[in-house]
Amino acid sequence: MSDGKEQQSAMEEAIARLVANGRLTRRDFLRRAGQGGAYVGGALSLSAILAACGISPAASPSAASAAASAAATSAATPEPTPVPTPAGELNFANWPLYIDVDDNGNHKTLQDFTAATGIKVTYTEDIEDNQSFFGKIQPDLAAGNDTGYDLMVLTDWLIGKMVGLNYLEQIDIPTFVPNFTAHAGDKYKNPSYDPNNAHSVPWQSGITGIAYNPKLTKRPITSLDDLMDPAFKGHVGMFTEMRDTMNLALLWIGVKPLDATMADVQKAQQKLLDQANAGMVRQYYGNEYADALAKGDLWVTMAWSGDIFQLQFDNPDLQFVVPTQGGILWVDNMCIPMKAQHPVDAQMMMNFVYQPEIAAQITEYVNYICPVPEAQAIIKQHATDAKSGGDSETADYLNAVADSPLVFPTADMLSKVYSYKVLTEDEEKQWNDLFQQVVQG
């Protein structure tokens, strides 16, 4: 097959995926949203400025939640006695394409939840980026107002930051979320960013590691040092996401992120600068690195596990590894903002998705790392069912999901991954300054 043809089919495929209503990963979607988002930037920054000036736009809770707020006030603090009762409503903010959806746009998981509990869910895909979503809700939280959301999915470092700012409600795991204790993987309990899961439980997670194309590298990649191999000059991809790149650089110099001192961070930055100055790095990427990898522009790159799992369907050659020095396990968590109107309903949702059957249902669609190990056997069972039902295509797909170490990582992989360091505001500023010197030159 000629290169031209390959390109054309890649293009057709990209367009087909753009218009298709089918399976599309969250980050796949974000890659496009991010590019479109470039245009939205102006509008966003204006609202951010308004926020910065203390002109906070009025919180606009939906009419429904306003109506129910009176009923829910008694349930504001989840204490064991008297046991608060659900209000019958839930406003749930999540990332795009981060829950199962069928061709008619229905979310079966949410329908099942409503059927089981009677709680009506208003589900919005309002979160496209941690930083800008935080910028949007922060003025309300700072002013002690309801944000209009009861349940949100945010990445671990932001959870850590918001816990520090006292922006999150406590959750009562023994009373409301027993399924978490019963079914969550050990790696997901008592995380450094939220001790004892006092405010959050994981939704999905993923690993930041290295992906490569063995046809182009012509050898297996195992170590972060391979990102410095002169043979790959100009074909190495790194991320614009400050936390991913800086924490990985810390692992590169042999420092566990949680133990990092400022001196370590500077050394890590020097490593990244050396790499950039040696002309190794082709570009610093957002979500669009996956396209560059698929097209062959990148030979070896920092990567998110979920993306590579998706890319492998079209490019079975592509490999993902957790480097010998370690990788990052990032976790997106469900949490409840302060002054939420329906905190009990939110915790019931947390409990609901920790049933292995429901966890499997979500993972079958989103393909990120599932915090419920038992879901693997259930997906396998679904595959067997599909096979005996004559649908071998679905069976193959489900088997691929259940067997992939990118969805259910091996114990060896999990032993080598670390969390992001949770940063204070001053640290964050210093890290940002150091990192921008690397990325912007």
Partner: protein
């Protein structure tokens, strides 16, 4: 009654546009200028401290990107004019009955989003893509040769994206020129080239002025091309502002840079207009 209110008509006509400018331009500009002088963080809140020092600091910290943006903007503008002028000239003087179709072809790319078109460039110029992949297979280029992530790709992208903005005003200016003037010049023994230099070119100056601004100003502030086609060595000031606003939430510094960019461009435009002779242009 109505006759007496005549004096108010121009004001009434200006009101919608004026309000629009006030709400969506003047007010945000003031807010931005104010934010640039504040200190604080998203979590702690901001206070106005009249921190004028942020301006020299920001300019010094990011001078490389500022200069690079002006450089790229200038090169792209010159390229758009070099490519666009002959195009506009041909359409205006030789277009005949195809004029409208040719003009439609010039604006046809606008039917697709700017972003999509720039992403298509990534496909066209990809290392193993239609162009480079073929040349590499033929052995004309080395395996590691690439165009994406180089200044050439970024400047080409900007040139491509702003070309129609140059062709249209140039066309309008050229189209208005009375061919009789050129004929008169040639009748007086001017060569065709001399007639162009002495008649056509000066008469098209207003269009040239508008075209160069319509290309240069957005090109300097552009960040989409550098983001999609560039690398760290092609970072433009727009990219810095975007990252500072959206990724670092460093609103004061981002605002300061935005103000610097706008003020710098404004001063540049005024000087440019003086140089080219404002009278002629506004009269044109």
């Amino acid at each position: 009654m109505l006759r007496r209110l005549r004096w108010a008509v121009p004001y009434l006509l200006l009101t919608p546009g004026g309000l629009w400018l006030a709400i969506f331009f003047a007010l945000p500009m003031l807010l931005m200028a104010s934010v640039s002088l504040q200190t604080g963080s998203l979590a702690r809140g901001y206070t106005l401290v009249w921190n004028f020092g942020i301006y020299p600091d920001a300019i010094i910290r990011w001078h490389v990107q500022i200069i690079r943006s002006l450089e790229y903007g200038l090169i792209a503008t010159v390229l758009t004019l070099v490519i666009g002028y002959p195009m506009a000239y041909t359409i205006a003087f030789r277009g005949g009955r195809y004029k409208n179709i040719l003009l439609l072809l010039v604006i046809l790319p606008f039917f697709t989003s700017f972003i999509i078109r720039t992403i298509s460039w990534k496909f066209v110029l990809a290392d193993q893509g239609i162009l480079l992949g073929t040349l590499k297979n033929l052995g004309w280029l080395g395996e590691s040769f690439h165009l994406i992530a180089t200044p050439i790709a970024v400047v080409s992208g900007i040139t491509y994206n702003f070309l129609p903005f140059v062709v249209l005003p140039l066309y309008v200016a050229l189209e208005k020129i009375d061919p009789a003037l050129i004929e008169a010049a040639t009748d007086l023994y001017a060569s065709r080239f001399r007639a162009f230099l002495r008649v056509t070119l000066p008469l098209s100056l207003p269009g040239l002025f508008a075209a160069s601004l319509l290309s240069f100003i957005p090109a300097v502030g552009d960040y989409v091309n550098a983001l999609l086609l560039g690398s760290r060595d092609t970072t433009m000031i727009g990219n810095v502002i975007q990252v500072l606003y959206l990724q670092n939430n460093d609103y004061p510094q981002a605002s300061a840079l935005s103000v610097v960019l706008m003020a710098g461009l404004l001063i540049g435009v005024i000087v440019y207009q003086r140089m080219l002779g404002g009278e002629e242009l506004t009269a044109g």
